[in-house]
Amino acid sequence: MSTPMLTAARPAATARPQQEADWVRYALTGAALFVIALFLILPLLTVLVEGLRKGWDAYFSALVEPNTLSAIKLTLIVAAIAVPLNTVFGVAAAWTIARFEFTGKNILLTLIDLPFSVSPVIAGLVYVLIFGAQGWFGPWLMEHDVKILFAVPGLVLATVFVTFPFVARELIPLMQEQGRDEEEAALSLGASGWQMFFKVTLPNIKWALLYGVTLCNARAMGEFGAVSVVSGHIRGLTNTLPLHVEILYNEYNFAASFAVASLLALLAVTTLIFKSVLEWKQQQDRRVAIEESVQ
């Protein structure tokens, strides 16, 4: 009985009125792939090919050159300070916003987004205006021999500013969705504030937090504009990796420039892979959270 009915239903199923013809789908997919190849993969390959143009030896010697090593070191130092700072700021801000009602909450939310909407160069200039020789605190700082501009503190400040939103933005929606119940349950069972945070809050947000930290780190290491303004480009002292790439390039030292750039490209690719894994993990967590709140 059921077989004839199935065959009868078949023509309707194959017609698929909602779907485009096969060639449309292939053409669109092909076009997308072509654009990705042209604008994303090709440049990435170019970086590698150009970096290796003079052979592996030249590639590695470019990487171990003292100024490059110092740039790598500086980049790592800046990231090592800026990322933990923004992780703490981000968690604190997200927790405040997700858990409490207070006046000025919307202003705080908007301010968190400010670094996304302001050009990084402007962000850098702001610090020059505040701490520069002609700036508000410049004379006082000079008197007391404190160096902020054209030194590591300036680089850290600029990086912190630019990467501020990443962690907070990632956590706010998740924490709002999860609500306060579990934390209140922990407190009612006698947990202290820190026990609540480490045993309940943190495990619930860990994937989103790692995701935010990863993006924050990638941006901290790759930031050019804001850092360029406050760095002063002192070779071996205040040049981060992106700045070093530019200098090498401007000196027509293409192979070395691309070799160093390939490091940043590698960082980007690693970040992307890590990010996809985290995204997948996070979606799983979120699905559970939604299922729980629906039931």
């Binding site: 609500g179 119940d181 579990e182 209140e184 349950a185 922990a186 407190l187 009612s188 069972l189 006698g190 947990a191 202290s192 026990q195 045993k199 309940v200 495990p203 619930n204 559970v288 959270a289 299922e291 729980e292 709140s293 039931q295």
Partner: protein, 386 residues
Amino acid sequence: MSIQVENISKKFGDFTALNNVSLEIPEGELVALLGPSGCGKTSLLRIIAGLEQADAGRILLNGEDQTSSHVREREIGFVFQHYALFRHMTVFDNVAFGLRVKKRAERPTEKVIKEKVFDLLKLVQLDWLADRFPDQLSGGQRQRIALARALAVEPKVLLLDEPFGALDANVRKELRRWLRRLHDELHITSIFVTHDQEEAMEVSSRIVVMNKGVIEQIGTPEQVYEHPQTPFVSRFLGDVNIFHGRVDQGWLDLDGWRVPAPAEAGQREQVAAYVRPHDVELTLEAEPHLPPATVRHIHHAGSVYKLELDVPARGTDETIEVEVSRREFQALNVSTGDTVYIRLVNPRIYPREDAAAVTVVSEIGTKSAQFNPQIANGEIHLAQKT
């Protein structure tokens, strides 16, 4: 542990959640806070727990002022509507949580913890689920685990915020009885919040009926149902028909239709009479003062029959609702369109001013007929209130 609530007030912005509420709960009671949503019952529970701070007033637990102490110091167990189980922990770890976060000096050994957790899981009949995660459990199972978790720290008071609100009707019924039995076993002072009057009547030994941030009445289920002190309690606990008229020399005069008034009704001009659907008696024989009514509709509602009646003399479309038992219905043997005579038994009389707020009726889902007296040609007519 006894609970005393003294003059608690709480505002959220312009909204008054609690207005000078006082309440005393003796040790070992199982009390329901009952009211429509927004009446302040959950706020009151959270203030007793210490999860929310009152703007004014005091909370005394066992006679000690705990108004400003932290939730973790109040020795309460709190059960949430949406369970609030720790999603990244197994059932075992959830129940063990309260024991493991104790200060080192008070913390039991892992062996003792294990024994205790399994005892509790047996108490809630779910020891076979110890290794599961919360998302692998059904709603009813989750709520029982949440209860076991709350009981693990041996709280002196158990506070439950709409504990069955998120469950299916069948599971809800089963868990109600189970909670009742559990309370009989443990005798722990418990308060649970609900908007379901049936649930409150079935589970609790005392009901606190709340509305708009104040307590309307406190009493046993029987007291609040049989002797409601305010029109709101009348309407909220069960269906009610509302009639407007006046009390005159021992009679409740509903425009020529006279009913003996209860003695305490006194002598009042404008009153509202509240009559439950099962307090309307039907008879087939005409008697003085019994107005005729036409059967408009008959619902067969399981154990009872619900009749909608027109009272034609009133000239209104609004019907009154009457409930009769199967046996009575069979004895009456009426069908749609027949004429019957109605007698009001046990009407609750309230001053007319109170009843002015009857528009709430539709919000809380009780069906009722409303009549408004109108004066025309020197006579009072009861017309449908629009």
